[in-house]
């Protein structure tokens, strides 16, 4: 078992309360930061730590913070992205549910570093019960002088609010999140201007994932250099991985980056192998938006090296034979799973979640869903398979936000690695239906 920086105390009874959290070393980073560090020093530590955004894109957090515009007399905002809607991802939920004070502690220190006096946690509307947990914890933090006016006598004031969404994957995209937080439809904005210059209510804004903000706590406590010692290369620190699909022990794991994928799937400390004594067929290692990998490319790279749980190793081989760490939503498929059906399922997801403002995305995701559905139920043709590649090209790079790409790439990857299975659906229409476990009549299109 590797070192834990975030989930070390997740099983301590009562850790969701202020008192127990505090007794276990909670809020030390706030004391340290507010009493002995300048905002610039905190940004520097975060830069040294090499922390990369845990929301999916992996952009260095310290660098993002350093881009924040600081015009005189204009408020700045820190928004925590707790929209967590990427299929396969449920790590932020785990953290907020179990140790809400860790996120609040991270928000206080990060807000201090960025000079934000009012910060928000934007949480997906379905997590309403977690909103209650967070608000309770926030009340406790106010009552104990860690939020509100003149925190710990430092002169620093901070108010923290939690705001729910209403069920829209796209609101996880940072500019859609901002729109939503302003009480509007979640349509992503054109960039530039970037949120660092013009974000919430037109003011400079930083948007960070729950896990990124929580990671600031150990970085401030132990120093950025100490954090950077964990992990491998540019994948520093620990990472929360939420594992689902056909695994013996699905769940949320905090891993030290650099363990092998093999250990993660089969190791006793982690997922303990594929459920029901089956074999691994494929894996989507970083949430539904990243390319699927066939079994032989999951634990080894194309050049035969061990595949590691790092940003670099999972991407090794590019789109031809690699994937991405993404949001850490690890999905394992056993030998009985139908790749065509899953590809269709994901395409339906993106079609459902497209905000609709760019036609290549709105129409393209709809078309992909229809064509894949046709193939899936055994009514497709060989030309449909090529048609999918064509739709892909029309979406890629032609949209306001990356959702269009996120929808197109997994389809391309599935066809690249499992073309035979798509063709088999065309040549064996009846058996293709059997493989749907007799559920064809139950296919829900709406």
């Amino acid at each position: 078992m590797g070192r834990k920086l975030l989930l070390e105390y997740d099983h301590v009874p009562g850790i969701e309360t202020f008192d127990v959290y505090r007794k276990n070393g909670g809020y030390r980073s706030v004391e340290k930061a507010l009493k002995s560090m300048s905002p610039e020093q905190i940004v520097e530590e975060v830069q040294k730590s090499g922390l990369r955004g845990r929301g999916g894109a992996g952009f260095p957090t310290g660098m993002k913070w350093s881009f924040l515009a600081k015009p005189e007399g204009v408020p700045r905002y820190l928004l925590c992205n707790a929209d967590e809607s990427e299929p396969g991802t449920f790590k932020d939920r785990y953290l907020m549910e179990r140790i809400p004070h860790l996120l609040i502690e991270g928000m206080i220190v990060s807000s201090f570093a960025l000079g934000a006096k009012l910060s928000f946690i934007y949480i997906r509307g379905e997590y309403m019960w977690i909103l209650d947990i967070l608000e309770k914890a926030i009340d406790e933090a106010y009552a104990n002088g860690f939020l509100g006016k003149n925190i710990l006598g430092s002169g620093f004031d901070l108010d923290l609010r939690v705001m729910p969404g209403g069920g829209a994957y796209i609101c996880g995209e940072e500019t859609a999140l901002i729109e939503s937080l302003e009480g509007k439809r979640g349509n992503p904005r054109m960039k530039p201007p970037f949120p660092a210059v013009k974000g919430l209510w037109g003011c400079p804004t930083v948007v960070n994932n729950v896990e990124s903000i929580a990671a600031v706590v150990p970085i401030v406590n132990d120093g950025g250099d100490e954090y950077a010692k964990i992990g491998l290369g540019k994948s520093t620190g620990t990472k929360l991985i939420s594992a689902g699909g056909n695994l013996v022990r699905p769940g949320v794991y905090e891993i030290e980056m650099g363990i092998t994928v093999e250990e993660f799937i089969y190791g006793d400390d982690y997922c303990r192998g594929i459920a029901n004594n089956k074999k691994l067929k494929a894996c989507v290692p970083g949430g539904s938006s990243v390319p699927i990998l066939p079994a032989h490319l999951v634990t080894k790279t194309a050049t035969g090296e061990d595949r590691l749980m790092t940003y670099e190793s999972l991407a090794d081989g590019g789109f031809a034979s690699g994937s991405m760490l993404g949001s850490g939503g690890f999905i394992a498929f056993d030998e009985d799973q139908c790749i065509v059906r899953n590809t269709w399922n994901f395409a339906r997801f993106y079609s459902h979640e497209s905000c609709g403002q760019c036609s290549p995305c709105r129409e393209g995701t709809g078309w992909m869903e229809k064509v894949l559905h046709r193939l899936e139920i055994g009514q497709g043709t060989m030309r449909d398979i090529d048609l999918l590649a064509d739709i892909n090209k029309k979406i890629e790079g032609n949209t306001i936000c990356p959702l269009g790409d996120a929808a197109a790439w997994p389809v391309a990857a599935a066809i690249r690695h499992f073309r035979e299975e798509f063709e088999w659906h065309v040549t064996h229409p009846e058996e293709a239906q059997m493989r749907n476990f007799g559920l064809l009549k139950n296919v829900i299109v709406a």
Binding site: E84, S85, E86, P87, G88, T89, F90, D92, R93, L118, R124, G125, E126, Y127, M128, W129, D159, R161, M163, P164, G165, G166, G167, A168, Y169, L181, E182, G183, K184, R185, G186, W201, S242, A243, G244, G245, N246, P250, G251, V284, S288, G329, I331, F333, D334, Q337, N342, N345, F346, F349, H352, E353, C355, G356, R362, F437, L439, N442, I444, A446
Partner: protein
């Protein structure tokens, strides 16, 4: 994108009005936002309105919320039609939202959906004739490791099996909330 439109014929029999306690909560929410930025509270208030006024948002409810926030009704309709959590049609007392996305499908959500359809004798999107249950599907609800799952109100029911579904339905029928 939820392609929902608003059916003007569907109305509440009485004008919706928050209880004084709820109204205090709503005002508190608005007051906690910077001057002039109270529209940010819209989504949260719509959730509250849905909870208080029968689980769905009628035109009157939306107009009422617009009035409270002092914004145009269209600003509320825009939002209510965009976000899939908001029901624009009347629903049953309990709304089951079964996750149908990949990771849940891999461990049998299709079969669970079919089982509930048969058990309640309704299709996805419909409400039982006694007005108790509405069945819907949802996209990934962040419970993939505890799948299959369904959400009912604030409650997540995870690790579903047919037996577990029976139990959940019976408990709701008896007026209690299953744990």
């Amino acid at each position: 994108m939820s392609n929902t439109h608003i059916d003007l014929n569907k109305r509440h029999s009485e004008k919706p009005e928050f209880s004084p306690e709820r109204m205090a909560q709503v005002k508190e929410l608005m007051n906690r936002l910077p001057e002039g930025k109270h529209k940010s509270a819209l989504i949260r208030i719509l959730h509250m309105a849905e909870e208080d006024f029968g689980g769905w948002l009628s035109i009157e409810t939306m107009d009422y919320v617009a009035e409270i926030l002092n914004i145009q009704p269209i600003e509320v309709y825009e939002v209510a039609t965009f976000y899939t959590m908001f029901n624009l049609d009347p629903v049953g007392k309990y709304v089951f939202e079964v996750c149908r996305t990949g990771p849940c499908m891999l461990v049998g959500s299709d079969q669970i959906i079919e089982y509930i359809e048969n058990k309640l004798d309704i299709k996805v999107g419909q409400t039982t004739s006694d007005g108790m249950f509405t069945l819907k599907t949802a996209e990934c609800l962040g419970a993939c490791g505890y799948a299959p799952m369904l959400q009912c109100g604030k409650k997540y029911h995870e690790h579903l099996t047919k037996e577990r579904v029976d139990e959940i339905i019976n408990t709701y029928r008896s007026g209690q909330v299953p744990n």
